[in-house]
């Protein structure tokens, strides 16, 4: 009997997700939320010793994969630093969205860049976008990149 969750209904896709993460981001650990959604938690350090280490959580929507929204069916939250606190401290942040709980997550990609058909956007791909996001935002926070960061799509 097919399960309720996408990872039960589509074990092949789930296995390919796990393989991609093991290959490209082996420090990320798979976890399950109370509502049944699964997620990966781990760290990225896009600027090496010149930047911070960010603890990220990539959460799959229940109906993964889809491209109905910006970022598709994968949401990349920053656990540390907290984007809500960073937003308050900086007065703003570029390329962010709010979930139904009011929490900020990274707006990593446009709808048209998300794959949801035969080729689906993986958590590894979302983390590749997240690395670019952090690189740009850390540059903006350091004053190396101007406010054009809000308009530029990178």
């Amino acid at each position: 009997m097919a399960g309720f969750y996408w990872y039960e209904r589509n074990p092949e896709l789930f296995n390919s997700e796990k393989l991609a993460m093991k290959t490209y981001f082996p420090n990320f650990v798979l976890d399950k939320l109370d509502d049944g959604r699964i997620c990966w938690v781990g760290t990225l350090n896009p600027r090496g010793k010149d930047g911070g280490t960010w603890t990220l959580m990539v959460v799959y929507d229940h109906n993964h994969p889809h491209n109905n929204t910006y970022g598709g069916s994968l949401r990349v939250y920053s656990v540390q630093p907290d984007l809500n606190e960073l937003y308050k401290a900086a007065g703003s942040l570029p390329h962010v969205l709010r979930d139904s709980n009011g929490d900020l997550y990274m707006c990593t990609a446009r709808k048209e860049d998300i794959d949801s058909g035969a080729r689906t956007t993986s958590a590894a791909k979302a983390l590749g976008w997240a690395a670019k996001w952090i690189f740009a935002v850390e540059g903006w926070l350091a004053g190396e990149i101007g406010d054009e960061v809000f308009e530029h799509t990178y």
């Binding site: 290959t23 490209y24 981001f25 082996p26 420090n27 760290t43 990225l44 350090n45 896009p46 600027r47 090496g48 010793k49 010149d50 960010w54 910006y70 970022g71 390329h95 707006c107 990593t108 990609a109 446009r110 709808k111 860049d113 998300i114 590894a124 791909k125 983390l127 590749g128 976008w129 690395a131 670019k132 996001w133 952090i134 690189f135 740009a136 540059g139 190396e144 990149i145 530029h152 799509t153 990178y154």
Partner: protein, 65 residues
């Protein structure tokens, strides 16, 4: 006799080199050129030795929204 050592500007300042590398990567991103992401999440140019020696993900095409 007074001894003087000539140090080319910037040669002793590793911060400059790091800033130059960041500018180069920022420009690559701005121009939409390829960058790679290492397993630690570091963004590097595809021809960077770090990228060539290890398993890296080519940062996906597409734009931040």
């Amino acid at each position: 006799m007074e001894k003087k050592i000539f140090v080319p500007f910037g040669r002793m300042r590793s911060d400059d080199a790091a800033a130059a590398k960041r500018r180069e990567l920022a420009e690559r991103l701005k121009r939409g050129e390829d960058v790679s992401v290492t397993s630690s999440g570091q963004v590097v140019a595809p021809d960077d030795p770090i990228a060539e020696n290890g398993k890296t993900l080519k940062a996906p095409e597409g734009k931040l929204a």
